[in-house]
Assembly symmetry: C2
Homo-oligomer: 221 residues x 2
């Protein structure tokens, strides 16, 4: 293995361990020595990649939305749906995504800037909505920044509710219902009649992405 | 003061102290001795009302939605809007409500059943939507249970996003935008043209309720 590959691999092992520990303990109670033990790497390697617990948490927060790359599509509203449903699917199946989402809602994580994922997700949704607007897919009164923030906020809460009620078991059904409620105030009715937003959409998109090779396969640690 | 009044007052003092400590420390790190110290009551009084930390947390969780009683209105969609906007206003101004909402999203609160507020809020919204449906205010395809859950979940996330971004400063604007996005897929257009759902609606409703005497004044500790 080349030196660089090894470094990337080590970084990933450390982040997976951090995700696991943060998810179990929360940010405040988690310790670097526990993350070290779980990762099975040297102290030097860990501090080389992540000088502090905050850096580890920011690493996990950053990873959560990095794999949600959906292929370009003619209909931008469909691309937005696919991005959201893929994220929901990953949240159910990928511990790194789950840990990132949990950290961003961890209210006891004093000193940790948790706005990052909200800001990044807003940017992703804004870009897709802007493209949809340029193509004439949206209703005339839509304010892209506002609609993007409502979508991102609503998603965060719908997943939290699904987690509190049944450990995310009904997440995909709930997110699909959320989109059916939000989209009629954003997109033209003619666009809505042709989109697919069933609860199985995230899995379909994940499979398409894996087959096209456009995406890293989902890692389940 | 009659004996019963004193007991009610003591219970409230304890709950306020618990709300404060849970909000600062989170459920896991909070200790009964810290709540005791903050409340300034005897150990006996505290254990009489709340035998365990879980009971204290359930007390705070339960209190958060108890003051959101909005007067009956002819238009049930307006009553729903008022209930949601009043809750958002309370969340900004009442530490007990804030602590309850935070507890219900505290993912490190292992052993604490956090589904209560979600379930109770769903019931409140379901009842109002059912009444709106009976009065013909809703669109024919609306499934009340689903629309209620989407609304409750979306609210939880929109407030979490507002908290992470700016400590709830823009909460009322965000919740108003959320309602403008959700309601068009629930209510008849003719109903929507006559409802008030601006960002100041919560304060207006709180003032109306206080003036009518239907409600306890908001306690700010």
């Amino acid at each position: 293995m080349a030196k660089q590959d090894r470094a990337i691999r080590t970084r990933r092992v450390i982040l997976s361990a951090a995700a696991q520990v943060f998810e179990q303990r929360g940010f405040q109670a988690a310790t670097i020595s526990e993350i070290l033990k779980t990762a099975g790497v040297t102290k030097g390697a860990l501090y080389f990649h992540f000088p502090s617990k905050e850096d580890l948490a920011q690493g996990v927060l950053y990873e959560q939305d990095q794999q949600d790359v959906v292929q370009d599509q003619a209909c931008k509203v469909q691309q937005l749906i696919d991005t959201v449903m893929l994220h929901a699917y990953r949240l159910q199946t990928d511990p790194m995504v789950r840990a990132g989402v949990r950290l961003s809602l961890d209210q006891q994580a004093h000193g940790l800037d948790r706005s990052g994922p909200f800001v990044r997700w807003s940017q992703i949704v804004r870009r897709l909505l802007s493209e949809a607007q340029e193509q004439g897919e949206l209703l005339p009164q839509v304010v892209v920044t506002e609609s993007a923030d409502v979508t991102v906020g609503a998603f965060a809460g719908v997943q939290a509710m699904s987690q509190a009620m049944c450990e995310h078991n009904d997440l995909l059904v709930r997110v699909s219902a959320m989109l059916r409620h939000l989209l009629p105030s954003m997109a033209h009715p003619s666009v809505l009649t042709s989109v697919e937003l069933g609860a199985d959409r995230g899995e379909v998109v994940a499979r398409m992405a894996a087959e096209s090779g456009a995406q890293q396969p989902v890692e389940v640690s």
